[in-house]
């Protein structure tokens, strides 16, 4: 017996060189930076909407309908105070200030996107882990998921909304449910490959029970792909919410959401395109930001994926 070998310093140096800190790596990826900045701006706009010189987004002014962007006029606030106000983005067919509606609309869109991503991933993760690891559950769970996937998402949403009535919670659930099967499939496929890894077998042979095996050895492998999947779910949820609102089966029309605003402006689009243009630009920018963030995360968290393209 000789003295213990030391871990060779070359391997160590190489190891520390290949992990320069995840945050620093992310901050060097332009897609991640752009996506994050745009999203942060949207969040700030939504949160600070009342302080950003906005009017009541539901306040109707029949005398000032369909004004073009930049129109200036004096309005009387409910308190009786008179105010010189510029409609930065014009007004809609009911005389509501578009600028205010677009900013308040950001709130709904972001809440819907985030809530749908969190719900579908949480539910999908649990079902996927169990389906992938517990053999007898696999067939049952996956066939249910196949069934769910066979129903067009928007139709399901329309059905649920007509059943429970329009509202934020209904819309969130209606969008989240069709997203679940995709998450389940992703998680299950990861679990199926990880469960064959020798380190999982090693954990079984040192007597680790099922739940700690899932938690310690399987779950960490799903985090990176789920984070990426989450951004895509989020983007599609924002879009679907807008579509539902546009079709008039989403959130009640007096609530400002980007979809609702566009639905409102659709009739007079040829004459007053600004009603669709402004919320459309905000929607497109947000979706672009979320998708870029997702792509950037995927490239950074899974370098193998990035090299393939």
């Amino acid at each position: 017996m000789t003295s213990p070998d030391l871990v060779d310093s070359a391997a160590q140096a190489a190891a520390s060189a290949e992990r320069p800190g995840l945050l620093r790596q992310l901050s060097r990826n332009p897609s991640v930076v752009f996506g994050t900045v745009v999203l942060l701006v949207m969040v700030v706009l939504g949160l600070l909407a009342p302080a950003l010189d906005t009017l009541d987004p539901a306040g109707i002014d029949p005398a000032w309908r369909n004004k073009r962007p930049g129109t200036e006029h004096t309005i009387t606030l409910p308190s009786g105070q008179e105010l010189e106000y510029v409609h930065r983005m014009g007004t809609d067919s009911l005389g509501r200030d578009l600028y205010s509606r677009v900013l308040y609309g950001a709130r709904i869109s972001l809440v819907v996107g985030l809530a749908v991503a969190v719900i579908s991933i949480a539910v999908g993760l649990v079902i996927g882990l169990l389906a992938g690891y517990v053999r007898w559950l696999d067939g049952v769970a996956m066939r249910v998921m196949d069934g769910l996937m066979a129903i067009p998402g928007i139709l399901l949403a329309i059905g649920l909304v007509s059943l429970w009535g329009a509202g934020l919670a209904t819309v969130i659930i209606a969008i989240a449910v069709p997203e679940i099967p995709r998450v389940v499939r992703l998680v299950r496929s990861i679990v199926l490959s990880i469960r064959e890894e020798p380190y999982v077998e090693a954990a079984i042979s040192v007597g680790t029970p099922l739940v700690p095996i899932l938690y310690r050895h399987v779950l960490p492998n799903t985090i990176a792909p789920l984070l990426v999947q989450g951004t895509y779910v989020c983007a599609s949820a924002i879009l679907v919410e807008a579509i539902l609102s546009f079709l008039g089966v989403g959130i009640p029309p007096e609530t400002p959401t980007w979809g609702n605003i566009m639905a409102e402006g659709r009739v007079l689009f040829q004459v007053f395109p600004h009603n669709i243009l402004f919320p459309g630009v905000f929607l497109a920018l947000t979706i672009l930001a979320v998708n870029l963030l997702g792509d950037g995360l995927r490239d950074t968290l899974d370098p193998r994926m990035a090299k393939r393209f």
Binding site: M1, T2, P4, D5, L6, V7, D8, A10, A11, Q12, A13, A14, A15, A17, E18, E197, P198, Y199, E201, A202, A203, I204, S205, V206, G207, T208, P209, P212, R216, H217, P220, N221
Partner: protein, 551 residues
């Protein structure tokens, strides 16, 4: 070299391949600056030159640079020349290189399954080579395909040409690869570990084929391998590489019999000897493990297919006493790993009994199994996958004891002791697996198994993935631990040399059955079963006495 010497039979005596003072840079941040440094190797007509070295020695980089297959952005040649029949390959353009590849030089790879396109028939893949490089008509192409398939001794060439890669065995696939490489009669064949993924009996056949074909076609062969047994069987000349440099070069006889460089001596000295090491046995020692008629049947098929049953293990009866090592040897698919998994209860046996210290565990319930698990521990083959990359090695080692209620502090203290036992630095417990080399990881896996204080330690091909020098260290460690802790050990291996080194008793498995079972001295000294004999005959470097050279 302009005035090439002409020999009596009129052949130019210039080497077919000359690698001249070649240096290849590695990307920044790698463990060394150059992948290979000032490497000079030449291969003549009708000559097999073996390039030997351990993983990371630069032997594959040298071969790939000849074919122009290096990832050009990361690895660029910064000096020297590669001359194929006098033409410097580093100076020609991509179009010329494409012309040469396949026609003048070709390559066969380690894993014939992944080197062949699974969506094309083998015949179509050979035909592709012909259509790319020649203007033969369809009949001529077909004639050549069948001709070359005949030459690589594939039975029924028309049927082989119409088969897809997955319909063939590993050996047949490698023959297809060789046929594809040689159909245009290149002057140079590069073989990158072509037999490493094959069983010994198949390996022996493929080596014979390469030698035979090389002689009939006058091909120059650059043969890359890590196995000195293969070198002894096939090489005319040998170049030994370490850390990107050629440390020794000479004829096979010189290098193998009278190695001059200390590294070569160490490598040759680390090749286990075929002569079993006889150890006195204690017949009174307690029987730790006995199996009786252990069987595992896999039933396939579903609703629409006819059910078929595969007897992965068929009535296996073995016995291991305290302080003893039983080796199960066999080729892939012989059922040796199935037996190990049944004993560790990672899979459930279909029939028979497994007695551990007298208790039958073959059908133990899940609850009882939890208590039994700690008494049997297993060390797996692949050290890169048997540790969770996201957990520190300390966490991996203490996981087992803590499952059974040992306190964290106590478990860590024990882990530190175990690290010393497996000859690693106890301070390295909070590092992650990627910071260790393969051999070090395998020691960590051994420490993890020992942390459970098992009665039986199963090593399932535990040294197969390691370089020969590291393998010798790990074998030495396992033997030391078995002695000190008086463990019973079940050693699964396909490598007869390794089995001869560590085992007291040996069971030879073939198609799920134990065909020969006895002490190592009996089995190696006087094999009775035909299969055992053919296995021994196929072992590379059989007639060559390794281990005689002191390290």
């Amino acid at each position: 070299m302009a005035d090439s010497v002409t020999t009596a039979d009129g052949k130019a005596d210039r080497p077919v391949l000359e690698i001249d003072d070649l240096t290849i840079r590695l990307p920044k941040g790698a463990d060394r600056e150059h992948a290979i440094e000032n490497v000079s190797i030449s291969v003549r007509k009708r000559e097999i030159v073996c390039l030997v070295g351990e993983s990371g020695s630069g032997k594959s980089v040298s071969a790939f640079s000849v074919m122009g297959l290096l990832p050009s952005r990361d690895m660029a040649p910064v000096g020297g020349a590669i001359r194929l029949e006098g033409e410097n390959l580093l100076e020609v353009d991509e179009a010329r290189l494409r012309e040469l590849r396949g026609a003048r030089m070709s390559m066969i790879f380690q894993e014939p399954m992944t080197a062949l396109n699974p969506t094309m028939t083998c015949g179509a893949q050979i035909e592709e080579v012909l259509t790319t490089h020649t203007d033969y008509g369809p009949e001529e192409r077909q004639r050549r395909i069948l001709g070359i398939l005949e030459q690589v001794h594939l039975p029924d060439p028309p049927r082989m040409a119409a088969s897809y890669p997955h319909q063939l065995s590993g050996g047949q696939r490698q023959r297809i690869m060789i046929a594809m490489a040689l159909v245009l009669e290149p002057v140079l064949l590069i073989a990158d570990e072509p037999t490493t993924a094959l069983d010994v009996t198949t390996q022996a056949q493929i080596l014979k084929l390469i030698k035979e074909i090389q002689e009939t076609h006058d091909t120059a062969v650059l043969f890359i391998t890590h196995d000195f047994g293969v070198v002894a069987d096939i090489a005319d000349r040998v170049a030994v590489m370490q850390w990107g440099k050629v440390v020794e070069e000479g004829t096979a006889e010189e290098v193998l019999q009278r190695p001059s460089h200390p590294y070569t001596r160490m490598l040759i000295g680390a090749v286990p000897s075929f002569t079993p090491r006889q150890r006195p046995r204690d017949p009174a020692a307690m029987v730790v493990l006995a199996t009786d008629g252990l069987s595992k049947i896999y039933t396939g098929g579903g609703f629409f297919q006819k059910a078929r049953a595969v007897h992965a293990a068929d009535s296996v009866s073995i016995e291991i006493r305290k302080g003893e090592t039983l080796g199960i040897v066999g080729e892939s698919g012989s059922g040796k790993s199935t037996v190990a998994r049944c004993i560790a209860r990672l899979i459930d046996p279909s029939d028979g009994h497994v007695y551990l210290d007298g208790d039958d565990i073959a059908r133990a319930s899940t609850a009882r199994l939890r208590q039994l698990r700690r008494r049997v521990q297993i060390v797996f083959q692949d050290p890169y996958r048997s540790l969770n990359p996201r957990r520190t090695v300390g966490a991996s080692i203490v996981e087992g004891p803590m499952n059974y209620g040992t306190g964290a502090a106590e478990a860590m203290a024990r882990a530190r002791e175990l690290m010393t036992l497996v000859r690693l630095d106890p301070g390295a417990l909070d590092r992650y697996p990627h910071q260790f080399s393969g051999g070090q990881r395998q020691r960590i896996c051994i420490a993890r198994a020992l942390a459970m204080e098992p009665d039986l330690l199963i090593a399932d091909e535990a040294v197969s993935a390691l370089d020969v020098s590291v393998q010798a260290q790990v074998l030495d460690l396992l033997d030391d631990i078995r002695q000190r802790l008086d463990l019973a050990m079940l050693f699964i291996t396909h490598d007869l040399r390794v089995a001869a080194q560590v085992c007291d008793t040996v069971a030879v498995m073939h198609r799920g059955k134990v065909v020969e079972y006895g002490t190592a001295g009996e089995v190696f000294g006087d094999p009775r079963h035909d299969y055992t004999r053919s296995l021994f005959a196929a072992a590379p470097g059989r007639g060559f006495a390794f281990g005689g050279v002191a390290a």
